[in-house]
Symmetry: C2
Subunit: 324 residues, 2 copies
């Protein structure tokens, strides 16, 4: 998204900060399309961000994340919170719903101005889906949303990155699917602030809770001021939702009271800086290589096996980094 120097004047940012929903939707589309202009807007918005409480919800396909999000949104609206929802789960009704034949949920919020829903297209994103998610969360934050819920399926580094950006990370498990092992493999067990056992009416619910407790004791805590609780829901029947919301607010409060031990701002800063640097530095180098014709030579040499891509990259880096 970034070529140097940037000369665009941000046109949408002030409208977004003033609450213009169409301007926000427009900028999100520009982020989707990786338009150059989106960068200037994001820069402008950055200083207005940091107020929203970001909730990351992850779990395997079929764990009932979407129903849970749906129910959470309903309860939070009752409490007058404005909400942004970002669905990056390809098996979610909002993004890839056709896969599961379920496309109609959440439609109840279509006419509610307090709820802004955005699903991420499943293609594109030079910078990766996690980077796009960060950007879109920043926009919702600048819109003044009190709470941003990011729903993602718990597989792959992208998802770990997304959950990692949340203030409160929720891992949803269901009985009888061997989910605990999957969660460990995916690396999401260590980053959860709250565990939800959804579909808790199912057989195996007690066993799953016991397994989880053992696993958590083995893993140790990732925070000095918060021991991740395990709570049970049956979201389709609205069971356990109020308890879950209370836990979310307790966690939020704990974060605020332990501001100096809370490194969420830092984590997010590191991730965003790292992602932007990675993408922009590569684009800058490639643009120069293309302009002076070296790119064509390098690719040709690799394609014809005269040079391996590892050495080719090394040479370019040695050549281009002034301080190495």
């Amino acid at each position: 998204m970034a070529n140097l120097p940037h000369t665009e004047t941000p046109l949408l940012a002030s409208r977004i900060i003033a609450g213009d929903i169409r301007a926000a939707a427009r900028l999100m589309s520009d982020i989707d399309d990786e338009k150059e202009s989106a960068l200037a807007e994001l820069k402008e918005l950055f200083h207005k961000t940091g107020k929203a409480h970001i909730i990351g919800i992850t779990g395997a396909p079929g764990a009932g994340k979407s129903t849970l999000v749906n129910t959470l949104v309903g309860e939070l609206r009752q409490r007058n919170r404005s909400i942004g929802v970002i669905a990056v789960d390809p098996t979610s009704p909002f993004t890839g719903g056709a896969i599961l034949g379920d496309r109609i949920r959440m439609q109840q919020y279509t006419n509610d101005e307090g709820v802004f829903i955005r699903s991420l297209a499943t293609r594109g994103y030079m910078g990766g889906v996690s980077r796009a998610t960060h950007h879109i969360a920043r926009v919702m934050d600048a819109m003044g949303k009190d709470i941003i819920i990011i729903e993602t399926v718990g597989v792959g580094q992208d998802e770990v990155d997304i959950v990692n950006m949340a203030d409160t990370s929720i891992v949803v498990l269901v009985p009888g699917q061997g989910d605990t092992i999957q969660a460990i493999k995916a690396g999401i067990l260590e980053i959860a602030d709250i565990f939800v056992i959804n579909k808790c009416e199912r057989e195996g619910s007690v066993k799953l809770e016991q397994e989880l407790k053992i696993m958590l004791e083995m893993a140790g805590h990732h925070s000095d001021f918060w021991i991740p609780p395990i709570t049970k829901t049956e979201s389709i029947k609205n069971v356990g939702i109020i308890e879950l919301i209370n836990l979310i607010f307790s966690h939020k409060k704990a974060l605020q009271e332990n501001r100096f031990q809370n490194n969420n701002d830092r984590k997010r800063a590191e991730f965003e800086f790292f992602e932007i640097l990675k993408s922009d530095v590569t684009k800058t180098i490639l643009r120069h290589l293309r302009e002076n014709g070296a790119f064509e030579q390098i690719i040709q040499a690799i394609a014809e096996k005269e040079k391996d891509p590892y050495s080719a990259a090394e040479e370019v880096i040695k050549n281009w980094l002034s301080h190495t």
Copy 2:
């Protein structure tokens, strides 16, 4: 994986080329763990690669990709082809099988030396899962595998990148799931060389075929010498598998006969060079920033909202790229 300069001596490469399966498995683990030493090995192996025919198989969860791969492997073994299978589908029995409760398939090949199966762990991979897949395919190629099958679920850029590296890209669809629209959204319709309608006994099979044909006519062909055919399988009953294999070999032949129009080698070279450059240049810069203390200052400034991450990245790039 790359710090400059590299002084490691490759110890596994020659053993892998000689057919040592344990050495290959070891290197793949090192790639998983992003060990520095893996780079030297990959460099050494690179010149022995380029012989395998790589088949990419993608489709939505539940499309029956794993059963199809299983059946394909059986048929190809009958024809004495040595095979590598890379499973990067998180819903596949090989990687995230617990999700679907199906972990036992492919066990029939455990004792067959002609089949090497590797599933990619669903976490980690600084350089992205597509990069790790490329590396592992290179190792299997150097092992002398005739055919490498990469199975992936058709969502996200990673998957498009993976399918894009294949010589023959197969998209698996099933009737009655709205898959065509999903495939278009995911950007995989344009890159398919062969379409498989799996579970073709299901209602809606004819309708899906018609939809696909219309869509393909609308989209136009991505190759001058190959019109992507649509074939039907019921892989669980072995129906249509021989026809599919014939199509794969026809496509392979067409690629060979049209070598100059075939830009697969180039595509792969571009992708690998791009991915390696991106990861290595960023690591090199970050290492220097950390060593001279600038990293800490930058992250602090972003976390405290004194600076936005976009401008911070710009400044670093301006500072570090000697030619800009």
